[in-house]
Amino acid sequence: MLELFTAGFFLRALAGGALIALTAALVGVFIVLRRQAMIGDGIAHVSIAGVALGFLINLYPIGVGLAFAVAASLAIEALRRAYRTYAELSIAVIMAGGIALASLFFTMGMGFSVNVTSYLFGSIYTLDDTDLAVIAAITAAVLAFALVFQKELFLLAFDEDAAAVNGLPVRVFNVLVSVLTAFVISAAIKIVGALLVSALLTIPAACALAMARSFRQALGLAVAAGEIAVLLGLFVAGWWNLAPGGTVVLLLIAMLALALATRKLRV
């Protein structure tokens, strides 16, 4: 069993998982605070339509999925502006569109069902070097953005109107955040699958919000929660031969329960 933990595919899984946990948690705190927790689901379902199309026309599926995800995130942002007080409505519409499109592509390419399943539930053990390079590049972009614009992102999440009145280019920021979110989601699909992607974004944030007093703290706690769940989850899944994506998400939920319980005890 121990040789599993030193095998190349397992180490690649650990590296990819660690990077995605970091970026997903950072993006997650931001979207949860903006009441867009469902955005992960919406974008992931559109992205999966792109993945299906990628198989159909024989192009790098994550690449096509990424393009679809970016388009979806921009559409969600445009709809969010049109229906300001119903941020979740825009996500519901886009998500339905994504599933509809995916089902069309699925039935057009019946023979690819096995591959497509791996994108629905994740296949972290099949990460190849190209995938890892893509994930590393996305992580670098998200980290740089979050570090450089940490204070502006805080204001944007806390009070978008105040950000606009302070003269910040709010629209540019919103588009950039949407595009980066789409990047993270498309990369994370390979890790936990389209159906569980939003868990990786939102549950670390939920854990952090249960305990954090400041925005900085919330970011740190979310990253910590995400990393613990992904790394521990991969080892647990490897040891008992469980589905890695599902294990990671169940661990996250357990951690959230723990966080909520300790908060209750403290108060």
């Binding site: 204001l155 105040a162 003269g167 400041s214 925005f215």
Partner: protein
């Protein structure tokens, strides 16, 4: 506001609305409004619910675009205006999420985050300004607390501190006293009055609070438009304080 009796144009216009019109669908909320707010005016805007008070403020700060007419800020057309640090904005308190993980310190410092602060770090001087603002508003001990855990009156002071930290020339307040007790309202209004009288700051305040506004701004509205009434008081001729830094500004108000 155009004060014909005043020695003409002793202070430059800060906000000018020319024939501004705005509708939600087919309901016209602002109809051909003309308004000039001059430096050191204190303008109180009073009107019933749905009369367009908040809409008017959002038009002025550029969060909404007028359907017709023009808005000018400090002499510039609003769409070309770039000096947003001159404007401090205190939005309605009910607009924020009480469970948001943000400390008082983080919120107050965010008043400095504009175009000029992009790609720059928070400096020691910024932190000192933050502490000064909190100290003088009497909430220094709240600095590390989570904002959602504070009382309404305390939150209101935090948002005022955020608006003041960049030392604005125009302060825009949207129902700042909604939902706080009488005594806190008195203190808050006293604070604004002192700032208006002693310092080069212009005020635009939307409120339900006819009593307090009229006691300072007079019984008769300067102009009315639709169901909105504009009460104005000018502080021309009062002695300016030579120093303009925030600490000094705020200390003066306490006197």
């Amino acid at each position: 506001m155009a004060l014909a009796a005043e020695p003409a144009d002793c202070h430059r216009p800060v906000v000018e609305l020319d024939n501004v019109t705005f509708s939600f669908g087919d309901r016209t909320v602002i109809d051909g409004l003309r308004l000039t707010v001059r430096e050191r005016d204190f303008v109180g805007i009073i009107g019933p619910n749905g009369s367009g008070k908040t809409t008017l403020l959002r038009l002025i700060v550029g969060l909404l675009k007028p359907d017709g007419g023009t808005v000018r800020l400090f002499g510039e057309p609003a769409e070309r205006f770039r000096d947003w640090h001159l404007i401090g904005y205190v939005p309605q308190r009910k607009a924020f999420n009480p469970l948001f993980p943000a400390t008082v310190r983080e919120v107050v410092l965010s008043g400095l985050y504009g175009r000029r602060k992009l790609f720059r770090r928070i400096t020691r001087a910024d932190q000192a300004r933050c502490r000064d603002a909190l100290e003088v508003l009497g909430i220094a001990e709240l600095e590390p607390r989570r904002i959602g855990a504070l009382s309404g009156g305390q939150q209101q002071r935090v948002f005022l501190a955020r608006a003041l930290i960049a030392n604005p020339r125009l302060l825009i307040l949207d129902e700042p006293t909604a939902g706080v007790d009488e005594e806190t309202q008195d203190n808050f209004f006293g604070l604004l009055r002192h700032m208006h009288q002693k310092h080069n700051m212009t005020f635009l305040m939307v409120t339900h609070d006819t009593e307090r506004v009229c006691s300072y701004l007079g019984r008769e509205p300067e102009i009315t438009s639709g169901r909105l009434s504009f009460y104005v008081r000018h502080s021309h001729g009062l002695e300016d304080c030579a120093e303009t830094d925030l600490l000094h500004t705020l200390r003066m108000k306490e006197g």
